[in-house]
Amino acid sequence: MSHSRKFATLVRLVVVFVAASSVAASTFVVAAAQEQSPPAQKDTPTATPSATPPPVKPQTDERSRTTGDRTRSVSSRMMTGSITGRVVTDGGEPLSNVAVFIGTRGASLPAVPPAIFTTGEDGRFRVDNLAPTAYNVWTFLPGYVAVLDPLLESGTRRYHYIGDDVTITLTKGGVITGTVTDARGEAVVEARVRASYVRDPEGRFSESRGFANAEYETDDRGIYRIYGLQSGSYVVSIGGRRGFSPYPTIYDEDTPTFYPSATRDAAVEVSVLTGQEVSGIDIRYRGERGRTVSGTLAAVAEENGAVSVTLTHASTGLLEGTVFTNGRGATGYAFSFEGVGDGDYDLVARHGMRNGEQMASPPRRITVRGVDVTGLKLALAPLASVAGRIQFEPATATTTQDENKGTCEDQRGGGSSDSPLPQESVILFRRDDRNLPKEQARSRMSARLETTPDVRGEFHMRGLDEGRYHLETKLPGEAWYVRSVALNASAPAAARVAAEAKKEDKGKAARPDTAASSHASGVSQTPSTSRDALMLKTGERLTGLNINVAHGAAALRGQLVADDNARLPNPSLWRVYLVPAEREQADNWSRFAEAPVSNEQAFAFSNLAPGRYFLLPHPIDQSRTNESLRPLTWDESERARLRREAEAANILVVLQPCQRIEGFALRR
């Protein structure tokens, strides 16, 4: 019995450690999800983070395919409702005992982990007592990945609302397998092999690259098998301590060897599709001792607050490692990365405070060349934020006589057709780094952040690094569209941004990093300017961003077909553009839209402002595959080019309020 007593003592002590480190654990979840954090409402069920974190799945897993009817289970706007759904194989069989995660993406409150549910024998799940907001639903089943929604751009999410019945289709993930040997040809045993997601199946650099790691160990024969991979390209590496396994290994302090036997810069990518097994990915391990990058943190605002430090390889954007500290250790607020190979890296420390504010150190470029880089000091400073309001204009009766007129009644979400709930919309901030000088360090953390407004429509997006941001607004249902996005002129910060915008208008040659750009489905806009992005300085608190939403949106769905109606080869390498045809809208970037084309050649636009548009199919620029996919419509010059081409092609559509055009055959 005395043994047991001692056990209890030991376990107790371990608990202290776990408690101390689980702050870091939840921070990791946030980091892995690219800081897509927390919900903006309080009625979300609390959640159970899995005790043993599963291998991190590619970000794209979170997308799911939605089909089925929506049943209205909500009558009053203050009521809560349910999301139901089922999880099936791609053969349609129900999958039971699958973990289903439901999370929200608001950033107005401190992080709340996603809630976890489990499917029953019939593959069904049901989540009750959900407050109205935009939800993401995703699953975890070892070995399986979600079938991606072909109508969603890579890296974007589907939102679900109370009343939705969600179908998530899972398919066997891809497998990469091979043998690892050392210079003598001997098996490299018990070494963790990682697959890091680099490109989507179209060959485009993924925004979530580097975060999407799966990690498995080699066995006594040096054989590894990485399974459950989403379709795409990966770099496969071994060595260095990058994951979160508690077992230290002898390879931890080495710099990673990449398949086939390369340094990071010369890594050969491995492409895999779901359901496919790619074998023979044999690695000759270099076993090179890496360097240490270490330092201390200053100006952490909260005592024992959790800080993550992220090291990113500069030229490839691959995540090199993340360490956590809460300052409780003997060394206080310090960090250390072992096994770092020669190269340029960007270093960022980030601290999520309990009140929801965030701090970060300005991204810092460091160079490792054969020696340790120690004694670094990273000082944290508040990050920028943007506050504003989304407003829904009163719905007006649609008066169009067109017989194709839609009803605008197909309204998703908790609000009824004529009174949508602002908290069901999502405001997405996408940082645009293209015009940053190459030598400038950047943060991986706020490349894509989302927030959800509160019941009054007010939102407060925090944790934004310095930079240029494009906004996208996701609205529930198809009845509404963004009429305008504008900064309240009375807000002091607005003046500076407006001045910035003028400078851009005059000539971008003077400021290459602020070249005018633009974007499609969401921001901005007073008719007199073409400003299409927010410029945020470090720690800036921008207020008065007004998003006006109007009733009577149109939608357009169709197929991209070859001239001779033959099947289009590689349809997913195409995009379809909507270009405003009305003269007075020609410069209105928010009337431009871009949609991907599925393998079945389908494309879809929704939440469109009524009006006249040109349709234009356009292939993806294959010369830019080493950049993340980025809407062409972000750039003024690209918009001008699209307009010229669209006018020449002259495929005109007229969209009446509430009109839904289906089955449009667009010839290439």
């Binding site: 654990a25 003997a330 060394t331």
Partner: protein, 584 residues
């Protein structure tokens, strides 16, 4: 290098408590497994890795040879020199690779206590378990050349097979346990190899297994909670090879050195249905919800509210104090909520039972706790250096012999402030004991006694039963840099190859529960070193253990007096013939 991460966390105890009980405890794999499990869920905080010991004087050299049991040199084996001799809060200082003859040399080693670990996962070191005995302690004096730290490795065996469900589909990502079952001198020992997960084909592969007989199982039950808890994982009732639920009916798998047992397939039965448990955290006084409390829970061992097995959780209560656990397998559980160390609240342990339904309305109460505060004082005032280090000390309290008391599976810690004061709040009323947390900063400090205004605190701790805060606590510490460099000489016999020797020490005249010094593992040459000693007389204890025997075989005591610095030599003579009769 098979370092058990659990030790990282446990090492404070090595330095503070009595060693024999701990070693016995550590031999008990259940705890090991539990620790491993817990740490699996906790990312390692690299920034908190302990700094290496300060080099003193000239550097030394270590060399040796790695061979197979038939004396053949093993080439290409990497050996790591790890700082620290116990518990791997240890860091790799240097590496060497064996040459064609299996020889290695590590140069430029500062004096200190080290462990040398050969990294050879497909081999065993001696006949023993990989996890705990894979290294050899080496205590190196300044400028010393240490020869012949040799390792004899035996090729391990392999067990491999495929796990399928009732429908014949592969079971993916489930852990397969290999437990070696042995009986020696009537003592039954079960030790678990590191669990291996099945891949997407349901295939698992255990390797580096010591020759012997193994019980292979998948799934979980009350006695095997290592993988308990957590949604997102499919739970199966524990099934033993070749597919039985009764452990006693399981077929043992024979493993030979270098052999491979294949086709060790298991078909699993039905999945264990899991349930949801929901509840709230409330302030016991006001009944108001308590947000941001961390929820920890564990299954009760032997249905006793006093023994909690592997603990999981970590999520925080929501704004309305609400929390929810998903994927809970049937059983009896204890659950506690915990606010961070700055809080003055403590959580009462709640228990709940999951049978065949979801459980709701589990209310966890937070009580306003009492507090303990005072100052840390160095005996004799202490010099500048000692005082400067004082504020880097961490102290902990735990309930005196209350490790089994319901609701107390959390240890509280606090730090000494620059003005030497300390404060720990949120303490459950009762008797508590106070100690120094074994961080690298602790080196040089010895806790002499704990005083209050009315005198020395008795052995059973500070009585906080009334709930009145204790504000007059004085932590009396001694500080010094003396070193005892010792040698163990074994006469009239040899110890078993896997025997472990440890020297622990305690300052004579210390109050109960105080005066312990950081213990030293005795290295392969019989050398040990106790350092960071304050001036005074110490009683040193040499303990000898043989793993799997469950017994401490010898126990010798000797006294030594040291000044506040400098080195003292000491020799233990272990007469195996004579001492054998002293066995209790």
């Amino acid at each position: 290098m098979h370092v058990q991460p659990g030790l990282d966390v446990l090492s404070p105890f090595f330095e503070e408590t009595n060693m024999p009980a701990l070693l016995r405890c550590l031999a008990a794999v259940a705890v090991v497994a539990a620790c491993v499990f817990l740490l699996c869920s906790a990312p390692r905080t690299q920034a908190q890795a302990a700094p290496t010991e300060t080099p003193v004087g000239a550097t030394g050299t270590v060399n040796g040879r790695v061979t197979t049991s038939d004396e053949k040199g093993l080439a290409g084996i990497v050996l790591s020199l790890l700082s620290g001799d116990i518990g791997p809060r240890r860091k790799s200082i240097a590496r060497a690779t064996t040459d064609g003859e299996g020889r290695y040399t590590i140069n430029n080693v500062p004096a200190g206590r080290y462990t040398i670990v050969p990294f050879a996962p497909t081999y065993m070191f001696g006949s023993s378990e990989r996890a705990w005995q894979s290294g050899k302690a080496v205590n190196i004096a300044p400028g010393e050349m240490v020869n012949d730290i040799d390792f004899t490795l035996t090729r391990g065996g392999v067990i491999t097979g495929r796990i399928t469900d009732a429908e014949g589909k592969p079971v993916i990502g489930q852990y397969v346990q290999a437990a070696s079952v042995s009986e020696e001198n009537g003592v039954h020992t079960t030790s678990y190899a590191r669990p291996r997960a099945t891949d997407d084909r349901g295939i698992y592969r255990h390797y580096g297994l010591a020759p012997g007989r193994y019980r292979i199982s998948v799934g979980e039950d009350k006695d095997n909670m290592v993988f308990l808890g957590g949604a997102g994982r499919t739970h199966y009732a524990r099934t033993f090879y070749p597919g039985v639920s009764e452990e006693s009916q399981g077929k043992l798998v024979e493993v030979t050195s270098g052999g491979e047992a294949t086709g060790i397939d298991i078909t699993l039965g039905t999945r264990v249905k899991t349930y949801r448990v929901e509840g709230r955290v409330v302030d016991a006084e006001t009944n108001l919800p308590v947000a941001n409390a961390r929820i920890m829970y564990g299954m009760l061992v032997n249905d006793s509210p006093n023994h909690v097995g592997a603990t999981s959780g970590g999520q925080m209560s929501g704004a309305r104090g609400e929390w929810k656990l998903e994927g809970i397998v049937p059983g009896r559980y204890a659950l506690v909520a915990h606010l961070d160390n700055q809080s003055d609240m403590y959580g009462e342990q709640a228990t709940f039972e999951v049978t065949e339904a979801d459980v709701s309305n589990v209310v966890v109460k937070m009580q306003r706790g009492t507090s303990l505060s005072g100052v840390a004082v160095i005996e004799g005032g202490g010099d500048q250096a000692a005082l400067a280090r004082l504020s880097r000390l961490s102290i902990y309290i735990h309930p005196f012999e209350g490790g089994d008391a319901p609701g107390s599976f959390l240890t509280l810690t606090g730090r000494v402030n620059p003005n030497r004061s300390f404060y720990i709040g949120g303490i459950r009323p009762g008797k508590v004991r106070l100690g120094l947390l074994g961080t690298p900063e602790t080196k040089g400090f010895t806790l002499v006694r704990v005083e209050r205004a009315n005198g020395v605190v008795p052995p059973d701790g500070i009585d906080l039963s009334s709930g009145t805060p204790a504000t007059d606590v004085r932590l009396i510490l001694a500080y010094g840099n003396a070193v005892v460099r010792g040698q163990v000489r074994i006469e009239n016999g040899v110890l078993p190859a896997n025997a472990n020797m440890m020297v622990s020490g305690r300052r004579v005249g210390s109050e109960p529960g105080a005066g312990f010094v950081r213990a030293s593992r005795v290295d392969a040459r019989g050398a040990f070193v106790l350092d960071g000693l304050a001036a005074g007389e110490y009683e040193l204890v040499l303990n000898v253990f043989v793993p799997n025997s469950g017994q401490q075989t010898h126990n010798l005591r000797q006294r030594v007096t040291v000044g506040s610095s400098g080195e003292t030599s000491l020799t233990f003579v272990l007469d195996l013939k004579a001492n054998a009769e002293e066995r209790p």
